[in-house]
């Protein structure tokens, strides 16, 4: 088949990469991997890296390899350090500092004592298990059988008194059932043997305990062999609950490979997809595969990717462009940054495949200038890809020429809109223009242009490598594959989570996110960033896909997800997001420019207790106007945070307006601090710390707050140890 010799060239390059890695001891040395990304560095990863460097030098050992990797997405536990000992499952440590690094190095790396259990990421136990069984989670097509089976297994383990040795855990659907006539579920992975048992029945469970757990023998008839990313999952990530609940396709290399090493990327099957595509596919057959995969744009709109590609491919003109939209601007969203910092090559590979499918000679990455590390790594990746012959003229001897340039955005949210983005690259003011004509026919410099989001492009190599059928087996009817969310707000574990489409909000928040911080009550989840909406508790079982979220009154968006608890005021949240869009409006069309300003004014009035019922009507009227009459997506979605909170939390608005009360006790102008005479002991602590000296009272006497002077900063509330200061 290898007629063009492209694959031969590729594997030749790959052999060189593996040889170089081997030479450096990548396979047989102990590897210490330190997270390195903007977020990791901010939490002290660089210091930890230097610490390890020093210790390795001091130890004089030549068999330890220290390297960097991108962000794994487990934000709340950064910096993250992975220790890879040959032949063992990697161990990931969280929140590492210099002290912990020392202990990890002396106890785990240098001696054979095993991992430092206390510092293991997401430590849920105080011991090491001899075996671990991870059952596949409920997917979209399989029933509740797995759940029942897991329960039974757990009971059986308990009956035999093996809880101390055996851990039973649940993961997510790993998509192994695809391409099978019958589903393989229930299935489970077993550690440390790293085998997958499929098609389990209740009757098999005893055999597993007898033979595998006690007898240390594999049960061959149950073993299922697969060669998907799923099978390598634990080799890459270690056994960390946070990752076990995810299905990482686009983030597969993030936190795994060294983002500055093309050798490592190629070792993990990097550039295989483009090589195979150039060898075996025509531009049209690539588009057909993308179409069969059901991939939809991950930037927010959910437009079918293949349709965009097809339109650009069909457009007249010999000069065409592909643009990667990396102008990630949603407050709190960092999916694209993590991806570009952790695995820049995947995005480049996706761009080459996309470029080839429309026969573009040139691609641009439009990235915000506020991402210096991502820019640096992309530049490095582009240079390396050129050196290795994956970019430039005659890629891998295929005769196809393609190259990529970076363009830096100057921090305008609206430049994420495709026509505004094009204007910005052209050197014009970043303002959207009416469509049609769509960029696919008239884009950059009036040439047909295909614009895809970072995550969409990162999905492309996955589709090409593992096949559209497999890809489309993951997800729901209308939304295929996975989605990366930036989980933030009041959850225990914040960070990036990649889950199959169809996962419920509840699972993401309570499984991936580990529930609400401080044991508080869940109130709402905001999805889709400033263009999205807030969904209340009754919507928790909504599944994440483009259509269900839309129906519920929010959007998928690019993947921001902010969890709110009972202390968050919904009017205030709506105000926050509207303030953002209002500031970021390009100022071109009237509804967005003027309308969002008026809506914001009304919201400010309401949070200050000056709102009227008429204000509420006007808010809704303006919201619907802006939604329906604005020129671009920014304007059309700007009122969403307001409209969705008005839909689900109308009572809270009315409470602000009629009773001038903020039920969440969050709006400063509507709350007051008072001292409970029964509880105040006269310790003077509050009076001493009050910045405006408005608390009067002498030692051991009752203290009183002067309401007129109080600025409601809340310092007294936080200071009082006797719970005497009340917020009302």
């Amino acid at each position: 088949m290898s007629e063009k010799g492209i694959l031969k060239n590729y594997f030749g390059i790959k052999d060189g990469c593996v040889a170089r890695l081997r030479e450096n001891g990548f396979f047989d040395r102990i590897r210490i991997q330190v997270g390195s990304a903007t977020c990791e560095n901010a939490s002290g990863a660089e210091e930890v890296y230097r610490e390890f460097e020093k210790m390795i030098k001091a130890s004089g050992r030549g068999d330890i390899l220290l390297h960097k990797t991108g962000c794994t997405g487990h934000c709340s536990s950064e910096p993250i350090v992975g220790v890879f000992k040959p032949g063992q499952i990697p161990v990931k440590y969280g929140a590492v500092n210099a002290q912990k690094a020392f202990e990890i190095f002396t106890n785990h790396v240098q001696s054979s004592n095993g991992p430092v259990i206390d510092y293991i990421l997401d430590k849920k136990t105080d011991r090491l298990y001899s075996n671990e069984f991870i059952f596949c989670g409920k997917g979209t097509s399989c029933g509740a059988e797995t759940e029942k089976l897991t329960q039974t297994f757990r009971q059986k383990i308990a009956q035999r008194g093996l809880e101390g040795q055996i851990k039973v855990a649940e993961g997510v659907c790993l998509g192994i059932c695809a391409e099978q006539e019958k589903p393989l579920s229930p299935a489970c992975y077993v550690f440390p043997e790293r085998v997958c048992y499929a098609n389990l029945k209740e009757s098999d469970l005893d055999e597993i305990i007898e033979k595998h757990v006690l007898g240390k023998q594999l049960i061959d008839r149950l073993v299922y062999k697969i060669d998907k990313i799923a099978n390598h999952f634990f080799d890459y990530y270690g056994d960390v609950e946070y990752f076990n609940h995810q299905l990482r396709l686009t983030l597969k290399n993030c936190g795994v490979v060294d983002p500055e090493s093309i050798d490592e990327y190629i070792y993990y099957r990097g550039f295989e997809a483009i090589s195979k595509s150039l060898e075996n596919e025509t531009p049209q057959s690539i588009i057909d595969k993308i179409k069969a995969s059901g991939l939809r744009g991950r930037g927010g709109g959910g437009y079918p990717t293949a349709l965009k590609w097809q339109n650009t491919a069909d457009a007249e003109g010999s000069e065409k462009y592909i643009i990667c939209n990396a102008d990630e601007g949603d407050p709190g969203a960092f999916m694209d940054r993590s991806m570009l910092e952790g695995d820049p090559f995947s995005v480049i590979e996706g761009m080459i495949i996309g470029g080839y499918s429309i026969q573009a000679k040139k691609g641009f990455v439009y990235i915000r200038a506020e991402y210096p590390l991502a820019i640096k790594r992309l530049e490095n990746a582009i240079t390396l890809a050129r050196q290795y012959g994956f970019l430039g003229n005659n890629i891998l001897g295929s005769g196809y020429d393609f190259d990529i340039e970076l363009r830096l955005g100057a921090g305008a949210f609206v430049c994420g809109e495709e026509t505004a983005l094009i204007h910005s690259i052209e050197g014009q003011r970043g303002m959207p223009r009416p469509r049609p004509p769509y960029p696919s026919t008239k884009g950059l410099w009036d040439k047909p242009t295909m614009i895809n989001n970072v995550e969409t492009l990162a999905n492309v190599p996955v589709v090409m490598l593992d096949g559209p059928q497999w890809f489309s087996s993951i997800g729901t009817q209308g939304s295929k594959g996975t989605k990366v969310f930036a989980l933030a707000g009041k959850v225990n574990q914040t960070g990036l989570v990649e889950v199959p489409m169809g996962t419920t909000l509840r699972d993401i928040i309570f499984k991936n996110g580990g529930g609400i911080t401080g044991g508080k009550k869940f109130k709402a989840v905001q999805t889709g960033g400033p263009s999205g909406g807030c969904l209340p508790e009754e919507c928790l079982d909504t599944i994440v896909d483009y259509d269900s979220l839309n129906q519920a009154g929010s959007i998928m968006g690019s993947g921001g997800m902010i969890v709110l608890d009972e202390n968050d005021c919904m009017v205030d949240i709506a105000k926050f997001f509207l303030e953002f869009t209002q500031n970021e409006s390009c100022g071109k069309c009237t509804p967005c420019r003027e309308g969002t300003k008026r809506m914001l004014e009304i919201l400010i009035r309401i949070t200050e207790g000056k709102g009227t019922i008429e204000d509420l009507n006007n808010l809704e009227r303006l919201g619907n106007l802006i939604k329906r009459a604005s020129l671009c997506g920014l304007g059309q979605t700007a009122p969403n945070p307001v409209l969705s909170t008005m839909r689900y939390f109308k009572d809270e608005y009315i409470e602000h307006v009629i009773n001038k009360r903020c039920p969440a006790k969050s709006c400063k102008k509507l709350i007051k601090y008072e001292i409970d005479p029964d509880k105040c002991v006269g310790c003077t602590a509050c009076a001493r710390r009050c910045p405006v000296q408005c608390i009067s009272g002498s030692p051991k006497k009752l203290h009183v707050i002067d309401q007129f002077q109080c600025i409601k900063c809340g310092v007294c509330f936080e200071t009082c140890k006797f719970d005497a200061v009340k917020k009302q």
Binding site: P434, K588, T590, E601, R628, A629, S630, Q636
Partner: protein, 605 residues
């Protein structure tokens, strides 16, 4: 439904320009009525066929599609949101609704949102009664304010001697930005800042006077409100008129008479020359001269200059120099070819120079006690009058005040003069007599035609029989012609609108221009479309080709009706040369009637 007539400059690659394909027809339904239109037609234009003029604001037929104001929204079956009818092409089987309760409310609310951020000073605004926003607000039924709040508050930019900018009145329709870039090729204006703080301003927020603004005033013409206005000069004029010591000498441009009637409600194209003379006298002007006399004189100098360059090997192509905006434009954008410009002053500059020298001497007047008032169709003439080159030997400007046609209309109205019914009267002698050649100066191609009438006769020494050079007439962006003069083929070109000038100038810069003589007028249509002309009426858009054609026709009719139609046959011109100037291009001429140019670079660069 008319396709775009004026040629746009090429500098609009990122903008939306709707192209129609006349060969393919599309069927759609608008408000229940079947409509068939060529593919690519906008919904707005398709609706016009069945008599629906969808309310609009930022849309302008001569400019690219902005889609910014959202007033022209309609509903299209199957579309989730409203659709801007100006920007959306029709599609086969489309079902459009142009009015419904929700559309009416949305349009009303959009216009209110614009008004809420606009000063409430209609009664004291220069555009009161002639404001597109005011008319729209009335039509949309904005009788209450529901959403009022903070309003923008910026300083007016009064730095320019010609055009003032008032961002408070700006509604960000971007017409000024578009006309400046697409029609004029100047791009002096752009938007800065975001959201509610968006404001149209020159680059780096430089004062207008320091920008590349060529003061053509087209932004004033297309502005639907009063965000751009001419710098008013009427106070100075009133002061001079009421001073008994001062002799006020007025002149007015050819195109003023063709358009001034519109300021009093007449249709475009009425020649109001006699009424204007009378009105000026009623205002207290002592002597009324005609800029058309200056035009004849310009031809004498310019035609001779051309003949000299042509026959003695001077710098060619020679470029005309009577359009003030064009002069500033070439100094900014093509400073390397200033030598190609004719050194002649504009007709206004020539008349003003002569009144304070020749006429003063003749009438025994103290030049310091003469106040030269020029009524012009032009805002750039205000800038021209302030040029240091346009002063006498003691540095005093020859032209003391330039008022636009619009300012003149206000002055007349303020005096209660019944302009339309005024009796006609004649100009004062010597500098008041003009030929048909002087009249057509106001229309694009007119200077070329007038110059050729004289130049050909000078070269051939024979009487020209066919004096109508029709190829250089009309509204085509760039017109060219070839004339056989005594066996030599002379190639000429005419452009109007500076965007079109750019194309010709790039050729000249590269030394590739095939022409001998090029006429450039800064404004679309020539002076008749000047930035100082009355605002377009209720049902006419500024820059409307039909309006420009009607004004041009008035000037060509004047020419046609005159016995003497060649400048060199003007007996008063002949007398002037005999008594004062000597001959064309003489030393006196050079001193008084010619000027020079210097490159202008934007400040800070």
């Amino acid at each position: 439904m008319k396709p775009v007539n004026l040629t746009l400059s090429k500098n609009n690659n990122c903008r939306v320009v709707i192209k129609m394909n006349e060969n393919k027809m599309v069927n759609l339904i608008i408000d229940g009525k079947k409509v068939q239109v060529p593919e690519g037609t906008s919904i707005m234009h398709a609706a016009e066929i069945i008599g629906i003029k969808v309310p609009r604001l930022c849309y302008h037929p001569q400019l690219s599609i902005e889609g910014a104001c959202r007033v022209c929204i309609v509903e299209v079956k199957g579309a989730r949101n409203f659709v801007a009818s100006c920007a959306s092409p029709v599609a086969e089987g489309m079902e459009v609704t142009t009015t419904s309760p929700s559309i009416r409310q949305a349009r009303r609310d959009i216009v209110e949102l614009i008004l809420d951020n606009h000063p409430k000073d209609c009664q004291t605004c220069e555009r009161d009664g002639n404001c597109e926003l005011q008319r729209l607000a009335y039509a949309m039924g904005v009788r209450n304010r529901y959403f009022e709040g903070e309003r923008k508050n910026y300083e007016k930019d009064l730095s320019s001697p010609a055009v003032i900018r008032d961002p408070n009145k700006c509604i960000l329709c971007q017409r000024c930005v578009r006309v400046c870039e697409e029609v004029q090729g100047v791009t002096a204006l752009g938007q800065a800042h975001r959201g509610f703080n968006t404001v149209v301003m020159p680059a780096f927020n430089l004062p207008f006077a320091d920008s590349v603004c060529v003061t053509c005033g087209q932004c004033i013409n297309v502005c639907p409100t009063a965000a751009f206005l001419e710098k008013e000069a009427t106070k100075k004029v009133w002061d001079a008129l009421s001073d008994p010591e001062i002799t006020v000498i007025a002149q007015f441009a050819p195109s003023v008479r063709a358009a001034v009637g519109e300021g009093f409600g007449l249709a475009p194209g009425n020649n109001m020359e006699g009424q204007t003379v009378t009105a000026l006298r009623r205002l207290g002007v002592d002597v009324v001269f005609d800029t058309q006399f200056g035009a004849d004189l310009t031809i004498m100098e310019e035609a001779n200059e051309f003949v000299k360059r042509f026959t003695q090997g001077g710098k060619l192509p020679m470029l005309t120099s009577c359009s003030a905006a064009w002069m500033k434009y070439i100094e900014h954008f093509h400073p390397t070819i200033l030598d190609n410009l004719s050194t002649c002053k504009s007709p206004m500059g020539m008349v003003s120079a002569l009144t304070k020298t020749f006429y003063a001497k003749k009438k025994n007047l103290d030049p310091k006690k003469i106040f030269n008032l020029a009524v012009m169709c032009c805002t750039a003439k205000k800038f021209e009058a302030s040029r240091p080159e346009m002063t006498d030997d003691e540095g005093r400007p020859y032209t003391d005040a330039v008022v636009t046609t619009r300012e003149f209309v206000w002055m007349v109205k303020s005096q209660g003069i019944d302009f339309i019914n005024l009796e006609k009267s004649e100009f004062d002698p010597i500098l008041g007599f003009s030929t048909g050649a002087g009249a057509i100066f106001g229309a694009t191609g007119g200077v070329m035609e007038a110059a050729l009438r004289t130049a050909v006769e000078i070269i051939t020494n024979e009487t020209l029989l066919e004096i109508n050079f029709t190829p250089v007439r009309g509204l085509k962006g760039i017109k060219e012609a070839q004339i056989d003069i005594a066996g030599t083929k002379v190639k000429v070109a005419v452009a109007h609108g500076l965007g079109n000038a750019k194309t010709l100038m790039q050729q000249v810069e590269k030394g590739e221009s095939p022409y001998h003589f090029i006429e450039i007028m800064g404004c679309p249509g020539g002076c008749i479309g000047g930035g100082g002309q009355p605002y377009a009426g209720t049902n006419v858009m500024p820059l409307d080709p039909e309006m420009l054609k009607a004004r041009a026709k008035a000037l060509y009719d004047i020419d046609q009706g005159k016995v003497i139609r060649k400048s060199h046959e003007n007996p008063y011109i002949q007398r002037l040369y005999k008594e004062f100037l000597g001959e064309p291009l003489s030393d006196v001429s050079h001193h008084l009637l010619h000027t020079h140019y210097k490159p202008r670079y934007p400040k800070g660069i």
